[in-house]
Each structure stands twice: as C-alpha cells, then as structure tokens.
Symmetry: C2
C-alpha cells in the first residue's frame, strides 16, 4: 500500500455507483397459498432492500416478475462488466442486507464473478442462475462450490 | 404495407445482428449420474445450436456454467433493449432450433419481452428466470401465462 493515500481508495459507494450496481427485486412474488390480494412479501423485500441501500451507491429497482415464481422470493443483481445473478428463496425480514452486501461484492469483483468466499449464505444456497456480461465471448470460470 | 418495398423490410438476420441477439449455452451441464469424464450433453447442445444459428444473425456462445445445474441442460438468451431469459430442461438432440427461434422472436419483440404466443414449447415449460434490460427502471409487464 506504499504511496497510496486515503483519497486514492475508492469507497464501496464510489465503486457501486461507477459500475452501475443494481439489485432488482420482484414485487409480485407471494407465498404459495397467499390470497391474490394479500400484501406481497416481494414488495416488503423491495422496500427493505431500498432502505438497506441508502448511502451505498447500489440502485434498487422494483420488477414485476423475474419468472422464478416457484422458488420465490426473487431478486437479481448486476454491475457493468460483471455476470448477472438471480437468487430465490429470499425472506423480506432477513435478506435485504445480504442483497446489498452481494451487490457491493460483485461491484468490487475484478473478474466479474460474485466471489463464493465471503458471499452472504443466502446468496449461496439461493443461487438460481447467472448470465455472462455483455462483453462476454468465451470464459474459463466455473461457479465455485466449496 | 402501402409504399413499403421489400428492401425496406429488415430480415430476421438483420434484426438479430442489429440487436446483438445471443444464445449462451452451458457446456458443462451433464446428466445426474453421468461420470465426470463422459462427453457433456451441454457441449452437444452448444454445437447443435451453433449449427442451427448459421445464417440467422444470432450469435452462439459457449459458457462454462449458468449455475442452473439442478435443472440442466441450460441456456440463456439476450438482445439489446430486451430482457434476458434463462432456460433449463433442454435436450441436445431436440432444442437447438427452438433456442434460435426464441432468440429471433426476442430480437423482434418491440417491448423487449419474449412473447408467450408463438414461443417454442420448451421455452415455455423450461423457463427458469428472466432479468430486465440495462435501461430498465420500472415496468408494468408480467410473464404472460396462458
């Protein structure tokens, strides 16, 4: 770190903003058996995630369906130059912070892959799918499963 | 169609190329119980899809893992301005043409959503997840399920 001053170091907020780190939360997700007009737990998760995102530089978008209904609640995350990840099995009262933490990890990932080490537990067991970044051609990485 | 000549009409190939229509096929996908060193059916699907793509303007990329291993074989598709879709339960001898047909439909979709009507059957029942386009902010669409 020789010669590096504090002002040279990008904060998490700077990195998230620079890479366009975004979490998409499905607000139509509901529990099996919930009546159609019950308050949607997906919406509660979206609101909690937006709150957790304050001051982090991570954007939170509400989405009407991520088509992962059978394994809801659902959210996705992306950053420029990184893979896009979809997660399921989320809980509104529990997982907002983990989503933001994951987006920050992804924004910092130099290889564009969400690291397994240090990844919040729910983003390990709740992984549904991942999609390569736009500039992807052919790669050599695999989802690491310790 | 008054005043429209043949040269005004974009071919499927033009549209696919203009929108950067791309199919990503997971080449590490294998059947449960297959030995580690058996030929990967995912690779066979990738090759068949590349063949089916010839002359269509759709790009086909091999990917090492889409993290949809429990519901393989897996593929994803994207176009500029459109949602990205992930599919599972694919078969190498059966589904290459459907993937290309789906990518062409997506490239033509003015709302950026893969239409349900006319969508190849395997892209209906094999839908795993979808993720909004880059310029997405807040939308009003839902996955249509007839």
């Amino acid at each position: 770190m020789q010669g590096v001053t504090l002002t040279d170091i990008e904060t998490d907020e700077d990195v998230a903003a620079r890479t366009g780190a975004t979490v998409y939360v499905c607000i139509t997700c509901r529990r099996p058996g919930d009546p159609e007009d019950a308050p949607r737990p997906g919406l509660a998760l979206a609101r909690a995630t937006a709150e957790a995102a304050e001051g982090t530089g991570v954007a939170v978008c509400q989405v009407e369906c991520l088509a992962n209904c059978s394994r809801s609640l659902s959210a996705a995350m992306r950053c420029d130059g990184a893979w896009t990840y979809v997660f399921g099995g989320l809980e509104p009262e529990r997982d907002a912070e983990s989503l933001i933490e994951g987006a920050q990890l992804l924004a910092r990932a130099e290889d564009g892959l969400l690291p397994w080490r240090g990844r919040p537990e729910v983003l390990k067991r709740g992984l549904i799918a991942r999609v390569p970044p736009l500039d992807f051609a052919k790669e050599d990485f695999k989802e690491e499963t310790e």
